[in-house]
């Protein structure tokens, strides 16, 4: 099929399939909820507190650097398609592009954003306290 119609039909089929399956199980399945069944699973113990608490800042850092580098990847694709027309000029340009990018990459690496465990993080030793 030419064009986007096939993609749209496929999405429609997917939505239809998933809705029919969920709908069928809602019709066919039993319904007798008890407070125990409706509690979030926590190894069989009564759940403590709410799940939506503060999360490690690492996840946000990864999301941020991903955005930056993914934009770079988005630049790569038009370059790769037009590569043969651009020739060595385009090659030099993409090398300089990557050099600029690698400055940020090295900075992020040195700052320890890419290290996940607490043991391997680069921590600056605290200045020795002056004896009073």
């Amino acid at each position: 099929m030419d064009g986007w119609l096939g993609v749209i039909i496929m999405i429609g089929l997917g939505v239809g399939f998933a809705s029919v399956m969920i709908g069928a199980s809602l019709l066919l399945g039993p319904k007798n909820p008890t407070p125990e069944k409706l509690a979030p699973y926590e190894c069989g113990m009564p759940a403590v507190g709410d799940a939506r608490e503060r999360q490690s800042v690492k996840f946000y850092l990864v999301a941020m650097i991903f955005l930056l580098f993914d934009i770079e990847v988005a630049f790569l694709y038009p370059w790769a398609v037009a590569f043969r027309d651009l020739g060595w000029t385009g090659f030099v340009q993409i090398i300089s592009f990557f050099l600029i990018l690698s400055v940020g990459y090295i900075y992020v690496w040195r700052k320890g954003v890419l290290d996940w465990g607490s043991g391997t993080r680069r921590v600056r030793p605290a200045a020795p306290r002056q004896a009073a």
């Binding site: 496929m10 997917g14 809705s19 969920i22 699973y41």
Partner: protein
């Protein structure tokens, strides 16, 4: 409505049907192969040699109670499995799986075997597979369960980290073929070198292929990178709170994503439907065989390699795979220019 349009609709329907079947067959294959690798038979009772086990599973799940934990977000909790499975189906829509054919003279003009032929096929696949992560993250967040939330967070961090190397490895293939359309990339791999080595990009891009496969395993959350559902740590990760069919849709999406990943690898690196011995009309047999081999490797890896540690996963993705894919891309670019000039 002319005949050609009806045939194209039939091809779409067939692709959709085969994707549903693929998820069922993969469930069975995984359990069978796991069984044989652990010196036992796997499912054996339902149907001859257990071949009807997936049907039994889905029937059982249809008759189970749908539970939604207290404090969960009603709409997002229902939307999450739907979103994952729709993204999985839609991602396959720009993957061509056979050469153009007239069905033995039935049609005047040949039709292409595949759902949609877009000139930006690779980008569409990226866009839609990235939507799949929303399903997992929403499932984790909406459940209001600590295990689910951790699974969802891990999944998102892992998928976005490996997306970079994945996309950069593919850029090298796009560079060789000079087109974003998967059909053009496949047709650029026709022919042989020296008469017997097939003109496949895996021979030009061995490192790129390796990076693609590793990142693909991580993108589909399969072992050894199955952190979102690491059952020893997180019970079942993002789908801890799901039951019944809503639970079944997540593994189904995962298996369809595996099939998509293998099909894209076949199209981009393994020459798609081109192969010796068979006429082009039967090229889809080659395509299925190659996809089958890749899927078997997926399952093989799962039951061979133990799971990584999470910090190892992240540092491997960012510190090794991503630089390696960038270097691979730049070296490829230089070599293409050098030999073309």
């Amino acid at each position: 409505m002319d005949l050609r349009f009806l045939v194209q609709l039939g091809i779409i329907g067939l692709t959709f049907f085969m994707l549903i079947n693929a998820s069922a067959v993969l469930v069975l294959a995984e359990r069978k192969i796991m069984g044989f690798m652990q010196q036992r038979y796997g499912p054996y009772l339902v149907g001859p040699h257990g071949t009807l086990q997936p049907f039994a599973d889905i029937l059982k799940l249809l008759f189970k109670e749908e539970l939604r934990p207290k404090g969960s977000d009603k709409w997002l909790f229902n939307l999450a499995p739907l979103l994952s499975v729709v993204a999985a189906f839609a991602a396959f829509s720009t993957v061509p799986w056979g050469a153009e054919t007239t069905f033995f003279g039935l049609l005047d003009e040949p039709v292409a075997l595949g759902v949609a032929d877009l000139n930006v096929g690779v980008l569409v696949i990226f866009a839609i597979t990235s939507m799949g992560v929303y399903g997992i993250v929403l499932a984790g967040w909406a459940s209001n369960s600590k295990y689910s939330l951790l699974g969802g967070l891990r999944a998102s961090a892992q998928m976005i980290s490996y997306e970079l190397s994945y996309a950069t490895a593919l850029a090298a293939v796009i560079l060789l073929a000079g087109s974003l359309s998967l059909r053009d990339v496949v047709d650029a791999q026709q022919g042989t070198w020296l008469g017997f080595i097939p003109h496949w990009y895996v021979f030009l891009q061995p490192i790129g292929f390796l990076i693609y496969v590793i990142a693909g395993v991580a993108e589909t959350n399969r072992a050894p990178f199955d952190f979102p559902e690491a059952e020893q740590e997180l019970v079942a990760g993002y789908n801890t709170e799901y039951s019944s069919v809503r639970f079944a849709l997540f593994p189904q999406a995962e298996y369809i994503n595996m099939a998509t990943m293998s099909a894209v690898a076949t199209d981009l690196y393994l020459g798609g439907w081109h192969g010796p011995f068979l006429p082009p009309e039967y090229g889809w047999i080659w395509f299925l065989a190659k996809v089958g081999v890749l899927l078997f490797t997926y399952i093989w890896v799962r039951w061979t390699v133990p799971r990584y540690r999470y910090d190892q996963l992240m540092s491997f993705g960012w510190k090794w795979l991503f630089p390696a894919s960038v270097v691979n891309l730049l070296v490829t670019a230089a070599l293409v220019l050098y030999f073309n000039a």
